[in-house]
Symmetry: C2
Subunit: 384 residues, 2 copies
């Protein structure tokens, strides 16, 4: 299956850089032990790698010295930890972008069953499919935000949300600001010094080109998150409470040193400018190619400067899953089809008639030829 054209990179980037594979195998064979809990040399080496990886992450987003990286095994878990950790006053309002993933939407829905919080969507301009900042300001003024949660890049349309404006406005009301950077970190320059972000959640296995099993959030605030998932910390074992300080109070259980070693290698590899330029080129080429095909509807933000790497479309007369199946069976092209775990946005895309979209997720390892093959395949399908 090595000749597959893999275009499901918004789910998981694949392949990874060669040094990621090597680092993981090396960690597995040489120091796959419990870091942070013991003082023997192998454990110290593991602990060092964790600290180095955290430093690389903080550097990547230009975090200030007071910021901490809190690791977890998945960004979904980190978002659950953040959202369940917040102490919502009764009747407070949480705003989410209409592009949120179920990693945000479902935890908030669950929280709203136990606490009386109001969940509101940031307003979208239905014509441009972009956030309507002016209407947002009006909504915030009318119903103050206690928390604002937004993804940086939509995992459905590739829309880059105006998070600087969203969070700047949110902070006028002292709202807690949560950024889901799962589809952005490593691909888009993030400068925490210039952004009003309290918590930045990231996944290792997507735009960071790292492995499954390592993710987390950057704790850029002094907000105290309530305990949520708790367990052994390898320290203060006789205490039934978690340690008091970030990041230790949020990190439980044995760290996955193999995945962390892989992430470290990925961070060594990543060059945001280079990746961004390459994916920009491929994205433009893909959009141009799809636009030239009759019977395709592409879901893009109006201003293409606010867009990258992910392209969703539907094909006249086809359910999206059928396009996915034909691309796989007849052309060996892997794309994702359906609703992409994003519950809110489809009422704007109006893509239910095709059971969601065909989604192409590009990566640094895709080539123009991959894109050309996809476009040719779609053309072939429509000629049948």
């Amino acid at each position: 299956m090595s000749d597959v054209i893999y275009l499901d990179n918004a789910a998981t980037t694949f392949p990874k850089p060669e040094n990621v594979y090597n680092a993981m195998d090396e960690a597995n064979r040489n120091y796959c032990v419990n870091a942070g809990r013991s003082s023997y040399k192998l454990a110290k080496k593991a602990t060092e790698i964790i600290e180095d990886t955290k430093k690389l992450l903080l550097k990547l987003v230009n975090a200030k010295n007071s910021a901490n990286v809190v690791f977890s095994p998945s960004v979904t878990i980190s978002l659950n930890q953040i959202l369940n950790g917040l102490d919502f006053v009764n009747n407070s309002t949480v705003y989410v972008s209409p592009y949120e993933h179920n990693a945000v939407a479902r935890p908030l829905n669950l929280i709203s069953k136990k606490n009386s919080i109001n969940i509101r969507e940031l307003p979208l301009n239905e014509n441009t499919l972009e956030i309507d900042i002016e209407r947002m300001k009006y909504m915030f003024a009318k119903e103050h935000p206690a928390c604002v949660c937004s993804t940086f890049v939509s995992n459905v349309t590739g829309y880059i949300l105006p998070i600087d404006e969203i969070f700047r406005e949110a902070k006028k009301y002292n709202a807690v600001t949560v950024l889901d950077a799962a589809q952005a970190i490593g691909l888009i320059d993030i400068n925490l010094e210039k952004l009003d972000i309290d918590f930045l959640a990231f996944a290792g296995h997507k735009t960071l080109y790292g492995p499954f099993g390592i993710a987390g959030f950057i704790d850029n605030s002094s907000i105290y998150l309530k305990e949520f998932i708790v367990g052994g910390t390898g320290s203060d074992s006789l205490n039934l409470d978690m340690p008091k300080n970030s990041p230790n109070k949020y990190e439980y259980a044995s760290p996955n040193i193999v995945a962390i070693a892989g992430l470290k290698a990925a961070l060594d590899y990543i060059d945001v400018d280079k990746i961004h330029s390459h994916e920009r080129l491929l994205t433009d080429y893909l959009i141009k190619g799809l636009e030239d095909i009759k019977g395709i509807k592409i879901y893009l933000p109006h201003n293409l400067i606010n867009h990258i790497s992910i392209v969703s479309f539907v094909v006249d007369g086809y359910k999206s899953e059928d396009i996915g199946m034909i691309l796989d069976e007849d052309f060996n092209i892997a794309v994702r089809t359906g609703y992409h775990c994003a519950p809110f946005i489809h009422k704007y895309l109006k893509d239910e008639f095709s059971l969601g979209t065909v989604r192409v997720g590009l990566s640094y390892f895709n080539s123009k030829e991959d894109v050309r093959n996809l476009i040719n395949a779609i053309n072939d399908i429509l000629l049948i």
Copy 2:
């Protein structure tokens, strides 16, 4: 560092079987994609591997057909999920063994701050360091258990708890029974057909000889666990609730296919009888060797048939962490020292004077020579 004698296997078994490394590298390079969410060939292969791994796990514990494996990235997370998922009636009593790990103790402590539950320890005979079954029966009769949680093997002393009797008695009161099998599965024969267990939690990276990043629980009940950690499931995306049925309702986010492939290889490798016999031999040899040294106190259950693989001791005149440091620095032997994330048991061991124990955790990959080297090292230290 390849000549290290690694005796911290109760934290993480290391090394792993060669086929685990190979399976992980192969998964990384060939099908490191999102399983269960897409229908292209690579995703289908990943999904198949997950299903096969679950079947091997169910077979290993002789589970009935109705049982499900619920994967998660760590056994701590699984235990949080189970304990937070239970619907405790006000003032109900949860019994835990005094050997519990903070992966059980801390979640219960946190739950007790929000719900009025009573947490009681199963009674221990201070002389034998074994559970006092008769007193337990009396306690259950006086204060009925709503839930009973026990580890199978103590991660501090290697004591094999009488879980068949504990859970049989618990079921007389219709209590929910939770087994923490992190230190037992793969090492001790587990037959779910003969045990009254509702939830069996397991770790991949300990006695199963698999990697970090994959763990879970076997759902052997029809008990409905409330939603706790929620997120994308790759299905029913427009629904803000999780799917209704086990295991899907408990599994969120992208499965770690690389870790699962590693666990599958480990399960292919494991032969419980062979591993058990080997570790039995090494354990006996270790205990004999330590008993011959003056100035060593070993913490063992009275009946050594109820014991395996983990040996905790203290050395006269030394803090345990100093022994750990000397073993590492002068002998290149890695052991774990301290309280081992087990908050309750130390009041019985009375090991606070040495800041906890020196813990030796054996694995199938240790040899008699490893044990002999440790014993010689301890002798040398005491001769200084």
